[in-house]
Subunit: 293 residues, 2 copies
């Protein structure tokens, strides 16, 4: 059910850095209209860890109130603190999300698989809800802590039907292929649409990507061509990979927000929470000069 | 006022992983009795980032109710999310703590000084309390994100009387010396008592250290010998550095908790929150065989 093209959704913010509720709902609606199968809200791109637990919960409740179907949402529920992860997971289930994307606890470094296994075992036990569908969010460039293939295997074996998927943002094609082939029943999303076609061919299921905030339609075309067995999928993937190249060399979240501001004219795209910093005028001009506006 | 020997206080926990209130107060009382000038609660050693904001606030309120003087507390108030850092800082001031120890936001990596400056500027503005005394918690091995000397200088200049100190857990003697000498009015705590005497001689002010949970008395002796200009300070420092060596090769928080359990017989030392893992029986035996019990 949860598969295909997902945007790692940007979170628009007002000048006071609160979530811009109206712009957020409009953006989610637009992404679905453009072709996203679903929405990965409040991941790295969504500045989730820069928002409090209460802010995240309020924002996704508002999204559903504002007409975004809960069944399209894959909320990020990762947190360093077990009680925060429990609260976020329960609230995501309460709002009707069909799955959650969970970071490992990311403060302590060089922790072993036993400790990470214990964290997720406690989380699943404390949430105590058979509806839980957990996607493991592997993003070592940011979290530093990640999911080894062995750990994924242990979690799948211990919690069948609960641990059901992963998002792999390692940026490492060989690793994504290994995970797809090692765990044929695991739902595997690549963390970038540049791996979309490969991931589907390796037996994976799609992508959850920051650049899908602006490449949703093109990413969806790759998916549909693959699903139809159309050989032009390769050419479309190559074009998609080229399209998303505009962001190379720019900080991705401020860069994508600058582009969304240009596209929509909405003020809600002007702001990022510190420690991120909005693009300066020169960078903005350079980005917009090469971007697929 | 805030200077000298501080333990980076361990947080005892019950079997359900809640903070063991009684054991926490007893431990803080014991550390003060053994010679700590103050208590760095809810830092890395205190598993702060494994606890929710509400748990941290409730625990330090309980400490003060249980008789630990608020003026001895330097609570950790670091968080990735600005609103969490604001809440923790306000609550620390409300309970009467004379200073707070603030991590940089640590999820996003490779952020620049401008973004970190913006984070602390927002924090100080939103807390909006002249009583605030902010200590910058530099611990790159864990947080990855840290405070450059340039950033410390910018913050000192922009917020004189508010940004007043740092804890340097770089483990790098040259860096600690540089910070001490570059900012003579900054209160500098080394992150380990092995740098205590050197730090004092470089113009710094003390240490905040995990191993001070068990070396408080000896660390205090080094401090007093230095304060008295007694040349035997060097020999005492050498002995202290040797004492704290027992933890080498063991995971520090589970190791120190195992030692505290042995010393006190209290159940509250048996537990760590995942992703940390308690020592297994062999490691425990090896540690206790070499520890200063």
């Amino acid at each position: 059910m949860l598969k295909g093209v997902f945007a790692a959704v940007l979170t628009p913010m007002r000048a006071d850095l609160a979530v811009d509720r109206a712009a957020f709902a409009r953006h989610c609606r637009r992404l679905l209209d453009e072709g996203c199968h679903g929405l990965g809200i409040f991941g790295t791109t969504g500045e989730a860890n820069s928002l409090s637990v209460a802010e995240r919960v309020a924002a996704w409740e508002a999204l559903v109130e504002d007409g975004i179907p809960a069944e399209k949402l894959l909320p990020g529920t990762g947190a360093c603190a077990l009680p925060d992860a429990v609260t976020l997971t329960r609230e995501a289930l309460a709002v009707g999300a069909p799955g959650v994307l969970a970071l490992p606890p990311f403060y302590y470094k060089h922790v072993g698989d036993d400790g990470l296994f214990a964290f997720f075992a406690e989380l699943i036990e404390r949430v105590g809800d058979d509806r839980l569908r957990l996607f493991l969010y592997h993003i070592p460039p940011m979290a530093q802590v990640g999911f080894s293939a062995e750990l994924i295997g242990r979690l799948l074996e211990a919690f069948p039907g609960i641990v059901v998927g992963t998002k792999d943002s390692s940026g490492d094609a060989a690793r994504i292929e290994q995970v797809c082939r090692s765990f044929p029943h695991l739902t595997v999303f690549a963390g970038s649409e540049r791996f979309l076609l490969d991931t589907l061919r390796w037996g994976g299921d799609g992508c959850i990507s920051a650049t899908c905030n602006v490449t949703a339609a093109q990413s969806r075309r790759v998916y549909e061509l693959w699903a139809a067995g159309d050989p032009s999928a390769d050419a479309e993937q190559a074009a998609l990979t080229e399209t998303r190249g505009f962001l190379e060399g720019f900080p991705p979240i401020p860069g994508l927000k600058a582009l969304m501001r240009e596209r929509t004219g909405e003020e809600g795209w002007a702001h990022v929470r510190p420690p991120l910093v909005a693009l300066d005028e020169d960078s903005r001009a350079a980005l917009l000069g090469s971007a697929p506006v």
